[in-house]
């Protein structure tokens, strides 16, 4: 693209009143802005037609719009085939700073001039992106798990016209849903048990010609990237060369003295550790191609540890069982005691392990409350004089499931009470259940034939990766530590987003769920799988930078195989070869730029966002020295996350909150993309301080790229060395956490940092 530059300045919304526009034009001209025009209402029809005319008449194709924030008028300043950058003179200049025209130092004017220079510098360094296309696109969807969740997912995807393969480790489809006597209702009026729907679902599954079913099958490995996964399937228990290799556990990377082994030695140990397995970069020539994966591997019934529930007799008394064991009994026929096969007419259901705590059993959820109600009804179905007692701390039947609860309360043989079961003991052939603090009285004793514990649903991923990803970062989902082994998402707003692109989990593998919830969940997962495939097909990113056509480009000649990009990518988008050279998988990538921030050789960049484009913006900032002023104003660089901090700064402007005019902001895709070189550039140019401003990290992280702000904070902690080499104080660099709605805190944050820097004194490099 032969760039033809133009700069348009809007003088509306008070910009023209607060700034010397002619001087801005002069500055822009010096910077080589090419065509320069101003207009008092640039976003209006007339303003836009000026730009359009320049595009058609003068061949303008690289445009800087100096007006309002890029968060507004996005659709107005969009010109096909043109590079457009927005310079935010309104929200972040004139709205957030008092006028200084006519004063000794016109801070506001200097600021606007800097931003104009930065905008021009940026567009000189960026290109229009070309989309990334996978070598060969597969639109087929792999569903892992042949239970109700997987079956529903396969049907839903097939109904939308996609080809599906569903794999099930057992010899038959159906999973847990096929092991039930009856199930909790799945639709309105939600008031009674229903017959299992699994048989009809299996039948329906078989009626789709675009679904193939593979039983006795598990995933050995999934290699490649969305749109082009190469999947090796195998029989359970088999050992094959395409079993996925595991990364070395941390302790194996150390020698006998606890020192980290060198790279070659680690490679050797890795080879030995994964003996018999082909490396992840070797694709299985017989592997099947898939575009996306739905993980619906389900759950295992929880078995509580005997010592934790010894007061409930579990493990000692045969007739104390879990809800899972009770379901098995119920499925077989009339409910009888496991100990002697006698009719179980009085059954006590315990919702909470007790011991002074009102928590439910581990891995429980509202489903366990509902299951207790369901199973209580079994007792009543089997015996006209049967009695079921449910001791709960909190009956959890949320939403419309309240109907089910209410309906079962009508049954005169079902007794429900809040209460803490303190002891279960044998009494002849029967059991005695003792409970405290019940609604029926302080202490209650009940004679029972059986006791059932409302134990939870343990995700299949707790001790098995299941997906077996042939990724350098390892075969499993990350983040499961946060969710007790479930493959859940940490996002409230985006519940299908995890750190593994193109693989969407659904059903009880991500949370304890009912059948209805699982079916609903997997329908969404099927949509996400289809959407990922279609995005890859278009060569664009999926969430959160949906539609972004850029992807990281590597200049491999200068790669030193340090592996930082491979290790730090939140999405595991990079694998590396034996030497450690990264192999990018752009369809796994979410375009956050964490790799770019990590790379010490600075060889990674995007068409419209790279080391040079941001570096040039940094260098375009004017740093006044004593040659210019007796007391030159400070210059501070703020690298701000465009997702949280940038909008917060806009909001501060909108509310006319003001802060130091000595700060220049550069928006970044994510703090993870911040390369230390930008900070060094700023400081060696004489800027007095640098701060990063982005989202919260930790367990409740708000980073849209999961790890970005956390990685940035780790890097900032290590920046001391770099600063020492410049003989600068470590206090000159800081990271601020800000949520998008904390715009009211932003001015204080900035001003107190400026104060700190002021106390340190000017950067000694100033003027060199």
């Amino acid at each position: 693209m032969n760039k033809k530059y133009a700069l348009y300045i809007c003088t509306g919304c008070g910009i023209g009143d607060a700034l010397n526009i002619d001087k801005l034009i002069e500055v822009a001209d010096e910077e080589g802005a090419g065509v320069i025009q101003k207009h008092e209402f640039l976003c209006g029809q007339e303003g836009i037609s000026i730009i359009k005319k320049d595009i058609s008449d003068k061949g303008v194709n690289t445009i800087v719009v100096a007006a309002c924030s890029r968060r507004v008028n996005f659709d107005v300043f969009k010109f096909d085939g043109c590079i457009v950058d927005r310079v935010n003179l309104r929200e972040q200049v004139i709205w957030s700073h008092p006028k200084t025209a006519g004063e000794e130092i016109d801070h506001l004017q200097m600021m606007a001039e800097d931003y104009i220079k930065m905008g021009i510098a940026k567009v000189q360094k960026i290109k229009l992106p070309d989309p990334y296309k996978v070598e060969s696109l597969s639109k087929k969807i792999l569903v892992i798990g042949g239970g109700i969740t997987g079956i529903t997912g396969a049907i839903e995807a097939a109904k939308a016209g996609y080809e599906v393969t569903i794999v099930e480790k057992e010899a038959a489809l159906g999973g847990y849903a096929a092991k039930m006597r009856k199930q909790i209702p799945i639709d309105y009026p939600y008031n009674n048990l229903i017959s299992p729907i699994i048989e009809s679902k299996i039948k329906e599954l078989g009626s789709y010609p675009n679904i193939s079913i593979k039983l006795n099958t598990i995933v050995a490995r999934i290699a490649g990237e969305p749109g082009n996964f190469t999947v090796t399937l195998k029989k359970p228990g088999e050992q094959i060369e395409f079993d996925v290799p595991y990364p070395l556990p941390p302790h194996m990377k150390l020698d006998a003295n606890g020192k980290e082994l060198d790279k070659d030695k680690q490679a050797e140990v890795y080879k030995e550790y994964n003996k018999g397995k082909v490396d992840i970069l070797t694709l299985d020539p017989n592997g099947e191609k898939f575009g996306a994966v739905i993980l619906a591997a389900g759950f295992k019934p929880q078995t509580p540890k005997k010592e934790e529930v010894s007061h409930l007799g579990f493990g000692d008394i045969t007739d104390v069982v879990t809800n899972h064991q009770f379901e098995e009994l119920a499925k077989k026929g009339k409910i009888v005691r496991p100990s002697d096969g006698k009719e179980a007419k009085s059954v006590v259901f315990i919702q909470s392990p007790g011991k002074g705590d009102d928590s439910d059993f581990e891995y429980a959820g509202s489903v366990t409350s509902l299951v207790a109600l369901k199973q209580a009804k079994y007792v009543r179905e089997d015996y006209a004089d049967g009695k079921a007692y449910i001791f709960y701390q909190h009956m959890r039947t949320p939403g419309l499931m309240e109907n089910f609860y209410k309906n079962l309360q009508q049954d005169s043989g079902i007794f429900l009470t809040k209460g803490e079961v303190v002891n279960v003991s044998k009494n002849g052939n029967g059991l005695i259940v003792e409970a405290d603090n019940t609604l029926l009285g302080e202490k209650v004793k009940i004679q029972a034939d059986m006791v059932v514990l409302a134990t939870g649903m343990v995700p299949a991923t707790l001790d098995d990766p299941v997906v077996n990803l042939a990724y350098r970062q390892g075969p499993a989902f990350r983040d499961i530590g946060l969710f007790c082994g479930y493959v859940d998402s940490n996002f409230i707003c985006f519940p299908y987003e995890t750190q593994r692109t193109g693989i969407y989990s659904a059903g009880p593998i991500r949370r304890s769920m009912t059948i209805e919830e699982s079916m609903e969940d997997v329908t969404g997962a099927a949509l996400k799988a289809i959407q990922c495939i279609e995005s890859v097909n278009k060569g664009v990113s999926v969430h959160p930078r949906s539609g972004d056509m850029t992807f990281p480009d590597f200049f491999f000649q200068r790669c030193t195989q340090c592996k930082r990009c491979t290790e730090e990518c939140p999405f595991g988008a990079l694998d590396d070869d034996a030497k450690g050279t990264p192999k990018p998988n752009p369809a796994r990538c979410r375009r956050c730029g964490t790799c770019m921030g990590a790379c010490p050789e600075r060889i990674i960049g995007f068409a419209d966002y790279n080391i040079d484009s941001i570096g040039s913006m940094v260098k375009a900032i004017g740093v006044p020295s004593q040659d210019d002023f007796d007391e030159p104003p400070l210059r501070i660089l703020g690298l701000v996350c465009e997702n949280d901090a940038y909008p917060a700064l806009d909001m501060a402007g909108l509310n006319r909150l003001s802060y130091s005019a000595n700060v220049r902001f550069i928006p970044v895709r994510c703090l993870g993309s911040v390369n230390v070189i930008w900070i060094k550039d700023a400081l060696s140019k004489g800027m007095d301080g640098v701060f990063l401003m982005g989202c919260k990290h930790g367990d409740d992280y708000q980073c849209h790229f999961v790890k970005g702000s956390e990685l940035a904070s780790i890097r900032m902690k290590k920046i001391g060395e770099a600063l020492a080499s410049l003989a600068l104080e470590i206090e000159r660099v800081k990271q601020f956490e800000v949520a998008i709605d904390e715009y009211n805190k932003v001015p204080d944050m900035i001003d107190s940092f400026v104060k700190e820097i002021d106390a340190l004194g000017p950067n000694p490099f100033k003027g060199f």
Binding site: A160, C493, N655
Partner: protein, 425 residues
């Protein structure tokens, strides 16, 4: 996206309601490649979640996810958004619907730069329903800080129109047109997803709980606005009667929910919402006593249970199993006494507090105004999905009470259902 000015005539999918569920359905479907029209009756997108301070259990601001969603909308040419729009009529069959939409006038056109000059000039004030009447805006106003689209709107019920016209005079970009009239447009779409959401149950209907009679009894949604930095008190939780800092607060759970006389169902979110709101209070008032009167504390699942556990560590949060029967106000102090029976001990509890929060439930919007389409409803007004028939689907809280996570899962799934209708064609 294309903003209101270019009025569309057809699309693959119509999404009715621009709250979090509608946004999700709209975005997820369009990012597969389908054309979607999103209509919203308010002058802004975001719906109920736009009014929330934080989400449970992460305590993160909803505007964070909305910002990303709005960015996705902005970047997506396949999405058309119509605000101030309501459905008049739907006819046709799956794959082929004719929809009549009424567009209320905004009185502000696309020339609006959100410069705010008009509000300074406007002489009229109106009660701000976004903040549940706890403050006022001018007759021409921006719904809230981050409202999207970022464009002002005139409340024609209070505006004096061209007889005043002060805003028109000061608007440099000629963005205000007080003669703008209602418009009716026709759309052809293949499938429709109803994400019409919910409204807080009208707390004045519960005579015994004193809302509307006693100023220091507020609803949980009002608490969200009070705690929000862009709320009527800039985030400070204060009593309504005298703007004093409350030293004790009681939460009344199931205010209307699980009650045959009001909402027969459980509203799903109120327990977690109150637990969350205890953190708002604790952050501002380290010594405040907090009482939660509940029937069951519904914090199901590992993630919610973990959150509940954390709140239980706060020794000044007291949990009382018992339904509140009545409330009274002390005339001098304006303090509220809550009377309940402890369900476990049977004793009658009287607790006097500075402020009471009613954990009011969610009523489906369709229960208040029936939708002009061939839809089936539960007794409570939730839309029942008929997957056999297809074509029209309800997602999120239009379909059943749910939290944001489940609503979004459901809304993503319904995007696929809407697509299936098109594929089948």
């Amino acid at each position: 996206m294309t903003m209101d000015k270019a009025i569309p005539t057809s699309a693959n999918i119509l999404v009715v309601g621009g709250g979090i569920s509608g946004l999700t359905t709209c975005l997820e479907a369009s990012e597969v490649g389908y054309e979607v029209i999103l209509i919203e009756k308010n002058p802004y997108l975001g719906g109920r979640v736009a009014q929330l301070n934080q989400y449970f259990p992460k305590l993160c601001p909803p505007s964070c996810g909305l910002e990303i969603n709005f960015k996705r909308i902005k970047d997506n040419p396949r999405i058309k958004v119509l605000t101030l729009a309501q459905i008049e009529k739907v006819s046709g069959t799956p794959g082929n619907y004719d929809v009549t939409v009424k567009l209320a006038p905004r009185f502000v056109n696309e020339n609006c730069t959100a410069c705010d000059a008009c509000t300074a000039a406007c002489p009229i004030e109106r009660s701000n329903e976004f903040n549940f009447g706890m403050d006022k805006t001018k007759a021409i106003y921006r719904p809230f800080d981050m409202s999207f689209p970022m464009r002002y709107v005139v409340d024609s019920t209070v505006c004096r129109g061209s007889s005043c016209g002060k805003c028109v005079e000061v608007c440099k970009t000629k963005a205000i047109d007080l003669s703008m009239a209602e418009k009716t447009i026709n759309l052809k779409v293949g499938s429709i997803v109803w994400t019409t959401g919910w409204a807080p149950y009208d707390a004045t209907k519960m005579d015994n709980l004193g809302y509307g009679r006693y100023q220091n009894i507020i609803t949980n949604m009002m608490m969200e606005r009070l705690a929000s930095k862009n709320g009527p008190t800039k985030g400070k939780i204060l009593r309504q009667s005298d703007n004093k800092e409350p030293k004790s607060i009681a939460f009344v759970q199931c205010a209307g929910s699980r009650d045959e006389n009001h909402l027969a169902f459980c509203s799903y979110i109120c327990c977690m919402a109150s637990l969350k709101q205890t953190t708002y209070i604790r952050e501002q008032y380290p010594d405040a006593d907090i009482y939660i009167f509940y029937i069951d504390l519904r914090a199901p699942g590992q993630r919610y249970e973990k959150f509940y556990k954390k709140i239980k560590e706060d020794k000044k949060v007291f949990f009382i199993k018992g339904k509140v029967a009545e409330v009274s106000e002390d005339y001098d102090t304006r303090n509220i006494t809550v009377i309940a029976e402890n369900a476990v001990t049977g004793e009658k509890i009287k607790q006097t507090v500075d402020m009471v929060v009613l954990a009011t439930g969610m009523q489906p919007t369709a229960a208040i105004d029936k939708l002009p389409a061939d839809l089936k409803y539960t007794d409570d007004g939730f839309i029942i999905n008929n997957f056999e028939k297809g074509g029209m689907f309800a997602a999120g809280c239009a379909n059943k009470p749910a939290d944001v996570v489940s609503s979004n899962q459901n809304a993503t799934g319904m995007a696929l259902k809407a697509i299936q209708t098109l594929v089948r064609r």
